[in-house]
């Protein structure tokens, strides 16, 4: 494998320093947190920043504050391992704890951060290859080329949002705090994403994700299910996050979010709306699962084929709903054969 291209590393100590470095170097600069996504990508020349602004030394980004009653604030620098093991998160926001705990391998969860995970690069069979491979095939539009090799003739890039935590967080109604040259803003996490494989983040280059804000738990339950070839290590080729607030058997509110089926986490809004005000019966679950799989339009640019991923979307949505409703064996919430 090629080596990392040369770059200057700025070890920021404070957010202000990091923001200043980003402002100074403009398009030449990128942020790096755990580096588990960015460094391998740089070795493949998918990114060639001249300056890397390191976030690891910034205290303000570390740690989890608050409570499930009032809502939690998770520093962007919190590692995935810490998120997955955090008592309050495991108990009250299980979709997030599950998603974080299913990312890759223990080594990567110890290095990888939540902020890096919500900003993780999109993926595609034609893009996540060595530089030499891409050069031999002909570069695609996501880097160095101008065509889409999955959908030739397409004006846009179809690389797939492959974050495990993003769909879970969107289903939980999380918000994200961004700090940049222009000051600070907080937006729903769903608003952080565009459905475009290249410009998948709806934030300015100079903005830093500082915190993920989880709303008060307020009776919401949640679950996350992940499809991948092996039981560990692999990126999701489908993520299904479902959160719902129930009163007795009646659903008061619900969100269903699909990961790895588009260039952004995709809300299955119709499916979620069909749940509201109704009792969670097996019939309703089947109908909602069908609706949820509707907007799932995966292309064949990840592992497994599109029809299979669509089928499993139905299966997982139904399983998640059954788990939330306490129907059937909740032990199967993740996967029958994990």
């Amino acid at each position: 494998m090629m080596r990392l291209p040369p770059f200057t590393y700025v070890a920021a100590r404070t957010l202000a320093e990091a923001a200043a470095a980003l402002a100074e170097h403009g398009a030449d600069a990128m942020l790096v947190a755990g580096g588990t996504d960015l460094y391998p990508n740089m070795k493949r020349r998918q990114f060639e920043p001249k300056v890397l602004v390191g976030l690891r030394g910034i205290r303000e980004l570390a740690g989890v504050r608050g409570s499930a009653r009032e809502g939690l604030t998770l520093g962007a620098g919190t590692t995935l391992a810490a998120v997955a093991a955090h008592r309050e998160i495991v108990t009250h926001y299980p979709a997030l704890a599950t998603a974080a705990g299913l990312v890759s391998s223990p080594q990567l969860r110890n290095m990888g951060t939540l902020g890096g995970n919500v900003c993780v690069d999109t993926r595609c069979n034609y893009y996540n290859q060595s530089f030499e491979w891409r050069r031999a095939i002909g570069f695609c539009m996501k880097k160095d080329g101008d065509v889409c090799l999955v959908a030739p003739g397409s004006p846009r890039c179809w690389a797939v949002s492959s974050s495990d935590t993003a769909p879970a967080l969107v289903s939980l109604g999380a918000a994200v705090r961004l700090v940049g040259g222009g000051g600070e803003r907080t937006v729903p996490l769903a608003a952080l994403y565009h459905d475009d494989g290249i410009e998948y983040l709806a934030k300015r280059r100079d903005e830093i994700v500082t915190d993920i804000l989880l709303p008060p738990v307020d009776g919401w339950r949640s679950a996350y299910l992940k499809l991948r070839r092996r039981g560990s290590f692999d990126f999701p080729v489908l993520g299904v996050a479902v959160a719902a607030r129930l009163e007795g058997a009646v659903v008061r509110d619900a969100r269903i979010v699909l990961g790895a089926v588009a260039s952004r986490p995709r809300l299955a809004e119709k499916a979620a709306a069909a749940l509201v005000g109704r009792r969670l019966t097996p019939e309703l679950i089947a109908a909602v699962a069908e609706l949820a799989a509707g907007p799932s339009k995966p292309l064949d640019n990840t592992d497994f084929t599109h029809p299979y991923r669509k089928k499993v979307t139905r299966v997982f949505v139904a399983r998640a709903l059954r788990a939330l409703g306490g129907l059937g064996d909740a032990g199967r919430a993740v996967e029958a054969i994990a």
Partner: protein, 761 residues
């Protein structure tokens, strides 16, 4: 055997502690003074003409000592048809990953950076990627007319090269070799058979998946002699290859096999001639270590295969005929194990009529190598799947069907030669017992989970190759065994046991040294499950020889007849007179000091057995399949293996554990996926689904059977290969039981399972 026999005892591996503590130093860890590092430039095209290689920018890059193309290497007679003699492509590249240049620099990083600066101009040519298409008349040719070339050595060393007739089918392009067997009248028998199973089975190209990537270091001494340290299974073979490639006499090349981090048949010779040539060219030590992606792109994976079978039987289950056409994809150099596949395919069962035609086809992919039971895994998947389906079709118990037809001693192999005593029936009978227990303990069916049970059996002929060993009594009374073998799988521990037993000394007093080609007695390559079987015999004889010499010295010194002496603990004493004794240390000193009158004890042993001791293993598997997603896992797995004599049961169990994990990879996960242009789409461990520990069976039991052979040491047979042979077939059969569908292509993905579940009731 005496009461305190070490044969049959579970002994921890002698090198276990150093390995688990991370203390072992591999070839890639070697640092010689002044050592340089080489990085390769690989072809991005599956087939292309090399128009021009511009090395100027690379040569001017910091730290670079030299940039070499195939034309610049100091090789004797580089021959593109022989990869060993031509490590860098000359005029044409024949697979994506074919090395075209090597950059040598002071540091690995500098070499890597400079390798990016080598400008290669290619003229891409059409590529033959699929083996069946490569046989069509208009297919692009891999080897130009007149170019020979094959790489059958590794297979021969595995005992996988078998004779056979040349298959009678018009010569198709790219067919590098054919084999065939006929017996009786297949067409008539199939016409008359009331039941015929006709299917085409396919297995994928897979990588051996060893943890340690290939690595070799070469250095030249001031007089021009070459030293090579390498991660190889094949010590003396590698020396011959290097000497031949460079045109040197063998004694000018010293090869040292460094501790090996797995090989599974792949690690014969690959990088060594290149490392040696680069060291000669630069006059400095050169290290070549592959990256994981280079491993996937540019080494010697196991071949893809296609088996078209027709298996006919009577209503009573008696097999009538087998017709088979086998195609192995050899990649760019011949050497695919089609012979062994044909032999075993027609060998497990009594077949009055058979016709097997095997073809080895060249394609624009890396030349294949051996992988644990080469050819046998593929053939057994096909045959045992067909047997399972036949049992189902006939409404017979799959074990009874196999027992009814199983070959026994004296039955004929397709070659017409009789089987020696084998344990196939014993394995099947024991499987029957295990299955009763297994089924009695079946977990209750969970909601949404399909369970299925499958069996399969398979065997391995067992490799042979002459071997020698020496045994020295040291001055402290301990024994040192010096061998020319590579300890691939803990074999040295077995050698220590054999030596201790044969010499009559405590196990902890035996040291086993695996020497280099300069000093070690000859042994064959570590492949084909032959090391314990052949080198073990030599060790046994060397240790007995040493014992005889020890007793002779003692007899003289104790003034007793040798027959009246006994070796007890660490002393030789006169039977019945415990105080008339000399310690081994005393005896040793009396032969190893100034003015001493006895010859030093130096036992010698050798073996050249030509008798094979084939070994079988049966598998019983229970799978669980998620009824909706098709996700499968092996829940319970029992392996019954005939080992002849279990020298070290713990070591055998370890072999079985590894084999089952590899079987799961074959069955469910692994595939080197090439696109239509011959580009590898799974060149990292992210994309190539090597199984993790989570994919291993939740419970795995090993049952050791002992059907002795008169040929191996203490009755032992080779144990490395047999346990993997039928593992994928058994898993596939269990999946068929769980889903009601047949799976003919490996790997069987969850997607394929989900599709089958949807189709089945």
């Amino acid at each position: 055997m005496t009461a305190r026999s070490v044969i049959g005892r579970s002994i921890p591996r002698l090198d276990g502690r150093e390995k688990t503590a991370g203390l072992t130093r591999y070839a890639g860890d070697l640092r010689l003074p002044g050592m340089l590092h080489a990085r390769l430039v690989l072809s991005p095209h599956a087939h292309a003409r090399l128009v021009r290689i511009d090395t100027r920018a690379a040569a001017a890059s910091p730290g670079v000592v030299g940039v070499f193309t195939g034309r610049d290497l100091p090789l004797a007679r580089p021959d593109p048809a022989d990869r060993g003699r031509c490590p860098l492509a000359l005029d044409r590249v024949v697979f994506a990953g074919h090395p075209v240049a090597a950059v040598v620099a002071e540091t690995e990083a500098q070499a890597e950076d400079a390798a990016q600066l080598v400008r290669v101009e290619y003229e891409p040519l059409p590529a033959a990627v699929d083996p069946l298409e490569a046989m069509r008349p208009d297919a692009p040719r891999v080897r130009a007319a007149g170019e020979g070339g094959d790489a059958t050595e590794a297979l021969a060393a595995h005992g996988a090269a078998v004779g056979g007739e040349v298959a009678a089918e018009p010569a198709a392009p790219n067919v590098a070799g054919t084999t065939g067997f006929t017996r009786g009248d297949v067409e008539r028998a199939l016409d008359e058979a009331p039941v015929v199973i006709a299917r085409t089975y396919r297995t994928s190209m897979v990588h051996q998946g060893y943890v340690e990537p290939r690595a070799a270091v070469a250095s030249v001494d001031p007089l021009g002699g070459l030293a090579v340290w390498t991660s190889t299974q094949a010590l003396f073979h590698t020396r011959s290859q290097v000497a031949e490639a460079l045109g040197l006499p063998e004694h000018r090349v010293r090869v040292t096999a460094t501790p090996i981090g797995g090989g599974f048949g792949a690690k014969f010779t690959l990088l060594e001639p290149l490392a040696a040539a680069l060291a000669l060219a630069t006059r400095r030590p050169v290290s070549v270590v592959l990256s994981r992606t280079e491993e996937f792109l540019a080494t010697t994976p196991a071949p893809q295969s296609v088996f078209e079978l027709r298996l006919g039987a009577g209503r009573d289950g008696r097999l009538a005929a087998l017709d088979a056409r086998i195609v192995f994809d050899a990649g760019a150099w011949a050497g695919a194990p089609v012979g062994i596949a044909a032999l075993l395919l027609g060998g497990y069962y009594r077949l009055p009529n058979l016709r097997i035609r095997g073809f080895e086809v060249l394609t624009h992919k890396p030349g294949v190598g051996a992988y644990r039971a080469p050819g046998a895994v593929q053939a057994t998947f096909a045959l045992e799947s067909a047997m399972d389906e036949l049992a189902r079709t006939l409404g017979m118990d799959p074990l009874e069907l196999r027992l009814l037809n199983a070959a026994r001693e004296g039955d004929l192999l397709p070659t017409g030669r009789p089987w020696p005593r084998i344990g196939l029936v014993e394995c099947l009978e024991r499987l029957r017992v295990e299955r009763a227990r297994f089924l009695a303990m079946r977990p209750p069916a969970g909601a949404g989970i399909r369970r299925g049970v499958g069996v399969a059996v398979g065997g391995w002929m067992g490799g042979i190759e002459p071997a020698s060993a020496v045994c020295r009594l040291d001055r402290d009374g301990t024994l040192t065994i010096v061998l020319g073998m590579v300890d691939l799988s803990g074999a040295a521990t077995g050698m220590a046991q054999i030596a201790a037993e044969a010499a009559g000394v405590p196990l902890e007093d035996v040291a086993v040294v695996c020497g280099d080609t300069e000093s070690a007695p000859f042994a064959g390559s570590s492949g084909g499950s032959k090391i314990t079987y052949t080198v073990g015999l030599a060790v046994e004889r060397a240790a007995r020889d040493a014992r005889r010499q020890i007793l002779a010295i003692a007899a003289d010194r104790l003034e007793a007849a040798a027959e009246d002496l006994e070796l007890v603990g660490r002393s030789v004493r006169v039977r019945g007179m415990p105080d008339r004794a000399l310690t081994l240390a005393q005896l040793a000193k009396g032969s190893m000091e100034f003015g001493a009158r006895y010859e030093p004890v130096f036992g010698r042993g050798a073996s050249a057995t030509t008798a094979r001791s084939p070994a079988f293993a049966g598998h019983l598997v229970e799978v669980e399949v998620d009824a909706e997603t098709g996700r499968a896992r092996v829940a319970r797995h029992v392996v019954v293996q005939d080992v002849g004599r279990a020298l070290n049961p713990a070591a055998i169990a370890a072999q079985i554990h590894g084999a089952v994990a590899q079987g799961v990879g074959w069955a469910l996960l692994e595939r080197l996926a090439y696109d239509a242009d011959g580009q590898l789409r799974s060149a990292t461990l992210m994309d190539y689904a090597l199984p993790g520990i989570d994919a291993a069976p939740a419970t795995l039991e090993t049952v050791i059977l002992e059907v002795p052979t008169e040929h191996g040491p203490f009755g032992a047979k080779g144990v490395g290969e047999p346990p993997v042979v039928a593992a994928p077939a058994a898993i596939a059969n269990a999946l068929a039981d769980a889903t009601g569908a047949r799976f003919t292509d490996l790997p069987i993905t969850s997607e394929a399972l989900a599709r089958a579940l949807r189709a089945a009731p």
